[in-house]
Symmetry: C2
């Protein structure tokens, strides 16, 4: 069964009538693709109720970013959810009819996570993560779900949300699922549809470069792979299309050091005005 | 009955074992005076359990403020609580043994409330209210109290906390109690003890000036009282000892306007290195 709410008050009333803890939350900005659907499927398999929120959150877009252009496809999204095997479980879609439904006019609170948000996407999108943590907190508080599902494509976002959940003692388990990729290797994203045919080919440079670094780190110690990796990073640094490409400690996004066990190789590449991100986790050996 | 916890984990375990909603929270920085005790008494009268937290929160002190000097008197505080009529109710004192108990080393989250924090104390203490909202959120999350008690002396703080509670959907009722004053009229504060005998007399200028403005506003319309009030404010503005003295809309701390029904007259005055604050609420008539 699927129910759709456009009113936060009506949603809240319904949510509070549910006398169960078996509730999963999948927060999305809509325009659902197979990546989102894999999160929803996982939640259906693990919970009696799955709450899917569909809300393009203005707080996480910068002034010159693509908030207005971001694809809004609610009818198609609901159809995609309906096509899933629901098998006696229940799906609740919360698609607020306006920004004021989620952030009332006199809303004045911001939640920020420091350090983790200074690097990668945080470096080039200054208020982005404050917007993310503030909306996700609000969705957590509305949904009161015991489990919450996020895609690993937004790796930094997952770390930031985990930090917030721990710091603010929010009673939900954050579950991150692997990146869902097209056959070409391109990470699925609602923004991929902005790419031309040739753009889709050019975009493979993102996953390709990340994988190349990952292979080097699997073959050699971090120090031995360093020279070749630096060559790759230097080329990227001179290339205006790349916003960043970094190899960081996967736990805290700090520089790799003797205690690092796993790195995240994360990049952002702009193709035809569309900014794409991708990442890959790799265990490393750090020669002493 | 009184129980004392220095460990947040042990407190949490005990709190989670309580199967009741009849819980009041009184967050304090210790060095309890009659103002604090009036909050605790009110909570005892309204709840089966009263949680009193005693924690000098470093986040709300600026680099040149009196964090180190702030009086810490735990033994005397517990004695004062013990001397109250508890009558079958239960008091739980949470006095964390270290800052890390409340803010673990990897804690990275800040909660901020905008607009309301730009004026009065917020103007001269830039990160003060972020420190307040962050600690108070954390205490709310640990205590899970249905009611929380604050003193009206920190009027701006109460407004900021109310805003946070609403924005973050925190399930506690914020109750603010009137300022507790010494016989002289001086608002009770843990900082009063830093004053010399002559300082205590000089300090009466704070409550006295605020009351003078309040009386003018009771006698005349806001516009008619305006000239005399401006004369008072001008004198204060030239006096280095005054940090601020303002007459603002009591609901939103904005400039008084045609919709204002009540004002807060709030001041901060430095006497012998000790910064004192005070305020008074007054209903106004606004001639049209």
């Amino acid at each position: 069964m699927i129910s759709l709410f456009n009113s936060v008050n009506e949603f809240t009333e319904y949510r509070n009538s549910l006398a169960t803890d078996s509730i999963g939350l999948v927060p999305t900005m809509g325009n659902l693709h197979d990546g989102h659907l894999s999160l929803i499927k996982k939640s259906i398999s693990e919970n009696q109720y799955t709450i899917v929120t569909i809300f393009v959150n203005p707080l996480q877009f910068g002034p010159n970013e693509d908030f207005d252009k971001y694809p809004r496809t609610l009818t198609a999204d609901v159809e995609k959810i309906k096509s899933l095997k629901i098998e006696g479980k229940e799906i609740i879609v919360l698609a607020p009819s306006s920004v004021n439904e989620i952030f009332p006019k006199n809303f004045k609170t911001t939640i920020s996570v420091k350090d983790l948000t200074n690097t990668l996407c945080g470096a080039s999108r200054p208020d982005h993560f404050d917007g993310v943590t503030t909306i996700v907190y609000r969705l957590f508080a509305l949904a009161k779900a015991s489990k919450s599902y996020f895609g690993q494509k937004d790796y930094q976002q997952v770390l930031v949300i985990r930090r917030m959940v721990e710091d603010l003692l929010i009673p939900t388990e954050v579950i991150a699922l692997p990146i869902n990729r097209e056959e070409s290797g391109l990470a699925r994203s609602s923004r991929n549809q902005f790419l031309s045919e040739s753009g889709r080919v050019e975009a493979l440079e993102l996953s390709g470069t990340i994988l190349k670094i990952s292979r080097l780190l699997k073959e050699k110690s971090f120090q031995e792979a360093g020279i070749e990796i630096n060559d790759i990073l230097e080329v990227v640094l001179r290339d205006q299309r790349w916003d960043y490409l970094e190899v960081l400690d996967a736990e805290n996004l700090e520089a790799v050091n003797i205690n690092t066990q796993q790195v995240v190789i994360a990049g952002a590449l702009k193709i035809e005005e569309t900014r794409l991100i991708d990442n890959h986790l790799t265990k490393i050996s750090y020669a002493r």
